[in-house]
């Protein structure tokens, strides 16, 4: 049986030396799940839930206004996916850590998370202690992404262009994006735009003419009322 570990170890130290709780942002479009997450995470003494957003856009503007340590993001967010939000959050300075959670914590999504730059992926079965652990782990700079099976990685790689395949391989190997850009002689911006392009190919999601927003989800869903 798993019990909630009442963590009190300091993650970030304030100037006065006392423990600063992790600033967490919850993003989910389902009201009951959002509330459940909010309450569960708020109960943890080392977390401070800054806010709860129900759309990717709302989450993005919230994160722009207030500094966030960790964003807990549902993969399926109606009109835009959690992967889109992850890319957007990772543009911020300083970029928050991102834990994606989804009913599908399988190989394809893990690979997409790697490309998008998420730090963790938790199955909804692990909604509870596992999610709390993952939030703490990514806050410490660890990665909590499941492994992508080699055959699947191979099949997914075939959908990409040759330079994208190199980036995909290096990202899967856990190499730091800055290092990848240096190795391949790319600017940070062009690496970023390639990651967008790869996400489109790997997710099969549609983009608007501007190219940026990823829409939909694996099972394309309706927008829920009240969100």
């Amino acid at each position: 049986m798993i019990t909630v570990q009442q963590h009190t170890a300091p993650y970030t130290l304030g100037s006065s030396g006392e423990v600063t709780p992790l600033r967490v942002l919850v993003v989910d479009d389902h009201p009951a799940v959002r509330l459940g997450l909010l309450q569960l995470l708020d109960d943890q003494p080392d977390f401070d839930v800054v806010d709860a957003a129900c759309t990717a856009e709302e989450a993005r503007s919230l994160a722009e206004r207030e500094p966030i340590d960790v964003a807990v993001v549902d993969y399926q967010l109606g009109s835009r996916s959690g992967l889109w939000l992850t890319r957007m959050l990772k543009r911020l300075e300083p970029a928050p850590r991102v834990v994606m959670y989804s009913a599908f914590s399988d190989g394809p999504l893990a690979a997409a998370c790697v490309v998008a730059g998420a730090d963790g992926l938790v199955s909804k079965r692990g909604a509870g202690p596992e999610l709390c652990h993952a939030i703490r782990a990514v806050a410490r700079g660890q990665s909590r992404l499941p492994l992508v099976p080699p055959t699947l990685a191979g099949a997914m790689r075939r959908r990409l262009g040759s330079d994208e395949q190199a980036i995909f391989g290096m990202l899967l190997a856990g190499i730091d994006p800055d290092e990848i850009a240096t190795t391949l002689g790319l600017s940070a911006q062009s690496l970023d735009s390639r990651r967008w392009a790869m996400l489109h190919k790997l997710e099969g999601l549609r983009s608007d003419p501007a190219g940026a927003p990823l829409t939909g989800g694996r099972i394309r869903r309706r927008r829920l009322p009240g969100c």
Binding site: L40, G107, L152, R158, G204
Partner: protein, 347 residues
Amino acid sequence: MNGDSSVPERPERRRYVPLLYRVAAVNALLLVIAVAVTIVVLDSNRASSFRIDAEGAALIIALLLVVAINVYLVRRVVGPVQALTALARRVDLSDHGERMPVADPASEAGELATTFNEMLARLEDERREATGRVLAGQEAERLRIAQELHDQVGQELTAVLLGLARVEARVPTELRDDVGEVQHAVRGSLEEVRQIAIELRPEALDDLGLQSALAVLCERFSERFGLHVKQELGGQLPELSPDAELVVYRVAQEALTNVARHSGAHEAELTLTPEHGLLALTVTDAGTGLPEGHVPGTGMRGMRERATLVGASLTIDGDVVDGGTRVRLEVSTDGRRSLELTGENGR
């Protein structure tokens, strides 16, 4: 007996004298009467008595000859009708292309055969359309149920799980085990809902393409049934229409399900190989093979229907070298047809 109860779909056929014999008999009777009348007339006109031996023999031989020619001619006319009856009885609309040979188009028999062939073509088209509509409806319905399961049931269960995690942290220690059990049950249900949704709708296919979707499918079989699937997913494959991709995926899914459930094998091999002008999917196992006189189940029959719709062919070999079963699907990569099987348009 005609009314054999083992063939319930065919009503009892009444016995009748075939048209050939009836026409031949009537003609022969007329000829006999004609000959008899001739003899009587000749007999009364002549003083000398009729020489039964010589003239009679000649007349009878002539009579037999005429009857034989008559039978031959009538058989030529009636033959196509009988062939048509036989074809109409055995024709299988899901197995396209069987037609009546038209010997002479400028004749009644030829016209009948041509009209019959046109009717067959029309029936086949209508059937294909109807099957396409049914399958598209089925896919749309599956998509809808998968979405409902995911959006409603799955989300509610997640919320319950989150609530339980909170409760667990607050209840006295002696109740924690009980809460843990409930959590375990909810987790199990959530997993089940996810599995059902995935089986209903190959979501990886929509997003990642055929090869990745098949890789995910194989992983899932090993995870769920302990069936190790050796995959050979080819290199660069020719692009298929979404309908054809869905058919390939569903056939692989059905074949692997059969391997997991019936073959007794713990290993299977799935290959996807481009061959000139077509893409071949094979699923082979080293299990017990198909029993003697095996009748394909509804699953495989459905697969065959789907295959026919996209112009693909499905063969099942129940006795490959090592005793197992091999399912092979060949999809033509040129001459695509769109039948909106994917169900996305049916919504």
